[in-house]
């Protein structure tokens, strides 16, 4: 069956390195790191106290006036995704109900869909605790009192802030996108899975344009506790936040939590041509698989599920390992996991692994969970368009047996033709996407 070609025509990035893709990419180029001591709540009681927070974020700048009141139905994850989607659609020069409320849209809403990956969204604990206070009897939670009167202290639409499909639903409403709609919830691989599925949706002809990606804020108390309990969070760099996240370094200390969203506009090539849209890159292949391991926290030692995903992406793209110049790994900065991913990359690329320029973004913007894979793919798209590879930081001493080249420098002379972004998550799911410089 004939597959349609799919191109990236818009990129929206909201991260600790800036609230648009130019600021973000310039930040990467300039060697900036978005990790600081967490400010949004008091973290002195937690073993990990650093994170990549987005400061001064106001989602109202990213929605039409008429939609601002819907803000009371939004958790931060939803706000971040809405902002990144708005940026991506504007970047793609699309007129939608959201970007140009007073004009005729330049798309057919029924042929345009949304696929935005999300996390299991943590509720606002202060808001809930304020209500729970009314369900206490002598200091203890009483189901009876909660059921009778306590729950009334929660706003009636409370649940809607935390349903993971609401990232996509709000975006479809704001921009009037009525086509295929999905909300993938596979933890840290959600964002890349969403872009991959959206790519396939267009390739098979079920939509002409998809708004795809993911978003999450992991800067909250529940995530700090969870990742601490799982033994995968950085604790030794609380006094040197900028150095805390060290993917593939021998001193890798664990995950640093972040927040952010990456959204791309994917388009059928013919559709993009008709409206003379600027093209960042072409998506050539996508692979999905799973790691298998004795537990759900550590990938298998050779990261075989990651190798499968990369090999499938290459096969679909009809590219061989030697064709790839840039690799954006998941690079979690958990030593065991980095080792497994390095092994997986070496197994997929063979002798060419040493020649790949590696760019691990989590040292800069932390682990943005459901947004992470989408942010990495957006990074690859911008790098291809600008033909620039930002420097990789916080990895002065990669263990030699990793067999990877972590040392390319700023403005290194590399012609980037093809890049791979790969991603995995606790639980096991893996994904990889091959993107190429657009060539008519």
């Amino acid at each position: 069956m004939e597959r349609r070609r799919v191109v990236i025509t818009g990129v929206g990035v909201v991260s600790a390195l800036g609230l648009d893709k130019e600021q973000y990419f310039q930040g990467l180029m300039d060697g900036r790191i978005g990790v600081e001591r967490i400010r949004s709540f008091e973290v002195s009681g937690f073993p990990s106290q650093v994170g990549a927070e987005i400061l001064d974020f106001n989602f109202k700048k990213f929605v039409p006036k008429a939609y601002r009141k819907a803000g009371k139905l939004m958790s931060r994850d939803i706000e971040l995704a809405i902002a990144a989607a708005d940026l991506a659609l504007r970047d793609a020069a699309l007129k939608t109900k959201g970007t140009c409320p007073d004009q005729q849209p330049n798309i057919d809403p029924t042929r345009c869909g949304v696929n935005i990956g999300a996390a299991s969204i943590c509720c606002d604990l202060v808001e809930l605790a304020a209500a729970v206070e009314h369900g206490l009897e002598e200091g203890k939670f009483s189901y009876e009192k909660w059921g009778r009167e306590g729950m009334e202290w929660l706003t009636p639409l409370w649940l809607l802030k935390y349903l993971p499909n609401m990232l996509g639903c709000h975006v479809s409403i704001i921009h009037d996108l009525q086509g295929p709609s999905n909300s993938i919830t596979c933890a840290e691989v959600s964002g890349l899975l969403s872009i991959g599925e959206a790519y396939w949706t267009i390739a098979r002809g079920k939509a002409d344009l998809m708004v795809a990606g993911g978003g999450e804020s992991k800067i909250n108390a529940m995530n700090l506790v969870r990742h601490s309990l799982l033994g995968r969070i950085s604790t030794r760099y609380n006094d040197q936040p900028q150095e805390a996240c060290r993917p593939f370094d021998e001193a890798a200390d664990g995950v640093v939590l972040g927040e952010g969203a990456g959204i791309v506009v994917l388009e059928d090539l013919e559709h993009a041509r008709r409206r003379e849209a600027p093209v960042y890159a072409e998506i050539k292949g996508f692979g999905v698989s799973s790691n298998l391991s004795a537990n759900f926290i550590t990938p298998e030692a050779d990261g075989k599920g990651i190798t499968f995903a990369i090999q499938k992406a290459l096969a679909q793209a009809q590219l061989s390992p030697e064709h790839i110049q840039l690799l954006i790994p998941h690079g979690e900065a958990v030593a065991k996991n980095d080792r497994a991913e390095a092994k997986a990359i070496c197994n997929a690329f063979g002798g060419h692994a040493q020649d790949l320029a590696m760019l691990a973004t989590k040292s800069r913007i932390g682990n943005c969970g459901a947004g992470a894979g989408a942010l990495d793919l957006a990074t690859a798209a911008i790098a291809l368009q600008k033909n620039k590879i930002p420097p990789n930081l916080n990895c002065p001493n990669p263990p030699p047996d990793y067999g990877l080249n972590m040392f390319h420098k700023k403005d290194q002379e590399i012609e980037i033709e093809n890049a791979i972004s790969c991603c995995y998550t606790y639980g096991g799911q893996t994904a990889a996407m091959a993107v190429s410089k657009f060539d008519n």
């Binding site: 069956m1 709540f41 008091e42 002195s44 009681g45 937690f46 029924t110 869909g113 299991s120 604990l125 605790a129 304020a130 206490l136 200091g139 939670f141 189901y143 009192k145 909660w146 059921g147 729950m151 929660l154 706003t155 009636p156 639409l157 649940l159 809607l160 935390y162 349903l163 499909n165 609401m166 639903c169 709000h170 479809s172 409403i173 921009h175 996108l177 009525q178 709609s181 999905n182 909300s183 993938i184 919830t185 596979c186 933890a187 599925e197 396939w200 098979r204 079920k206 108390a221 969870r226 309990l229 799982l230 999905v288 698989s289 799973s290 298998l292 759900f296 926290i297 096991g428 799911q429």
Partner: protein
């Protein structure tokens, strides 16, 4: 070149009306209700005090001998999922990769592990309520109306447990199944609210058609029958509050309906490329022929008043199946029992099918099972497979008083013998995501 045909070769279910498919089917045809007083937590004073629970169930006994202990202690809905998946896997005669479990079918062909994948519409696990609430109450500062995070953290770290937290992640149903069956094909889990597992079936079908896999396990699992789940839906006033009559509370299309009834469970189907199923020599239970996915793009709180997105999803599914309105013999409705859904769904069916809408039997098994949220679609899909197999349509129970806005044939109260070759199943998710799938009796 024609596109690949996708057939169904296995099914499994754990529901309030039975822990396997045949028991579920027998009780659904008998018009039983699975709804009664909630027992999983103390709900006596909640606005809704009843639900459709899975009772007397333990998945551990069903796990194969020697299985990794990580499958023993799981979130409630993951346990349902493991059981439902094992039922489907065994029916499809697929091997469970443990040394002593041989390959089921006679000629021994099994696709490579990277040709077998999983697509779920699975829910999140319930929070570790006791420890979660303990941290909130210990940390809460009544005077400043804020949380003392040092106190909160101290309590949280003392009570919370790594695995209990991890098991709440919505990808964990998927993760357990991948480990159990050792699969390397495409793995996805989505959570498009009440439409999730219908979406999973549709997307899994597309993946096999595209050649990304030969076999996909598709389905869903969910349980929101926990204090915060019920609180959330009660605050939205989405749930029935007919506390004096729980079995009569889920009344889709009835004039006196007052909301849906929360249920829990899991369902799975094995979808397979026809050539693969033939080669393996397994029994074929039906064929998936159409899928449509759309968004209302209207409001997060309400469905579009004319059913715009629902109409589009049904039309796309028909188009995908190369079918017209005369080809559909039965519609398994989303039919939640809320005022809004049932009247809008009726409008959707009329808008697409015109006069023919009045001749198509339509039923909502939610009248008996309640609403399994993410798992609802797949369990309803399974009842469609069985309706085609046995040529009988499950009823909509509790349909006593007709509603002027709902004037179609909802197969009230009693199952009905009928000629069913093709069935359609609708799922409309909260937030406006709509999914429709069409399945057909398998013919060469």
């Amino acid at each position: 070149m024609g596109r690949r045909r996708i057939v169904i070769t296995g099914m499994g279910a754990v529901t309030p009306l039975g822990h396997n498919v045949e028991e579920l089917w027998r009780r659904v045809l008998a018009g039983e209700s699975g709804v009664s007083a909630t027992t999983t937590f103390e709900a006596r004073t909640f606005p809704s005090r009843f639900s459709a629970e899975v009772r007397d169930f333990s998945h551990e006994a069903e796990l194969p001998d020697g299985v990794n202990h990580i499958h023993e202690q799981t979130a409630r809905h993951v346990g349902f999922m493991l059981s439902a998946a094992l039922q489907a896997w065994r029916q499809a005669q697929l091997p469970i990769p443990l040394p002593e479990q041989g390959c089921g079918n006679s000629n021994g062909y099994v696709p490579a592990a990277d040709q077998m994948g999983i697509y779920l519409g699975a829910g999140e696990g319930p929070v570790d309520f006791e420890n979660f609430i303990m941290a909130l109450t210990e940390g809460w500062q009544s005077e400043s109306k804020d949380i003392d995070w040092r106190k909160w953290a101290k309590t949280a770290f003392a009570g919370m447990d790594a695995i209990r937290e991890l098991e709440q992640e919505p990808n964990m149903s998927l993760s357990h199944l991948a480990q159990l069956f050792e699969l390397r094909g495409p793995h996805f889990s989505c959570l498009t609210a009440c439409a999730a597992s219908t979406q999973a079936i549709g997307e899994a079908t597309e993946l096999i058609r595209d050649g990304q896999a030969q076999i996909m396990l598709a389905g869903g699992a969910h349980s929101m029958i926990h204090p915060l789940g019920v609180t959330g839906f009660n605050r939205l006033t989405a749930l029935s509050v007919r506390n004096e009559d729980p079995p009569g509370a889920s009344r889709p299309f009835d004039r006196d309906r007052d909301g849906f009834v929360l249920a829990e469970g899991a369902g799975t189907v094995i979808l397979e490329e026809l050539a693969c199923a033939r080669r393996r020599g397994v029994k074929i239970l039906g064929e998936v022929v159409g899928y449509g996915s759309t968004a209302d793009a209207f409001r997060v709180t309400d469905q579009h008043e004319d059913g715009r997105g629902g109409i589009a999803a049904v039309r796309l599914a028909l188009q995908d199946a190369h079918m017209g309105v005369n080809d559909i013999d039965y519609i398994n409705a989303h039919g939640t029992g809320t005022i809004e859904n049932d009247s809008i769904e009726t409008k959707v069916i009329k808008a697409v099918f015109g006069q023919r809408a009045y001749q198509i039997p339509i039923s909502s098994v939610k009248s008996m099972l309640g609403h399994l949220i993410a798992a609802a679609g797949v369990v309803e899909f399974i009842t469609c497979i069985l309706a085609i197999r046995d040529q009988i349509i499950p009823p909509t129970i509790n349909l006593q008083t007709p509603d002027a806005e709902c004037d179609l044939d909802y197969v009230p109260n009693e199952a009905r013998k009928a000629k069913v070759k093709t069935a359609m199943s609708n799922s409309f998710g909260f937030g406006g995501q709509n999914n429709t799938v069409i399945l057909r009796k398998f013919e060469e």
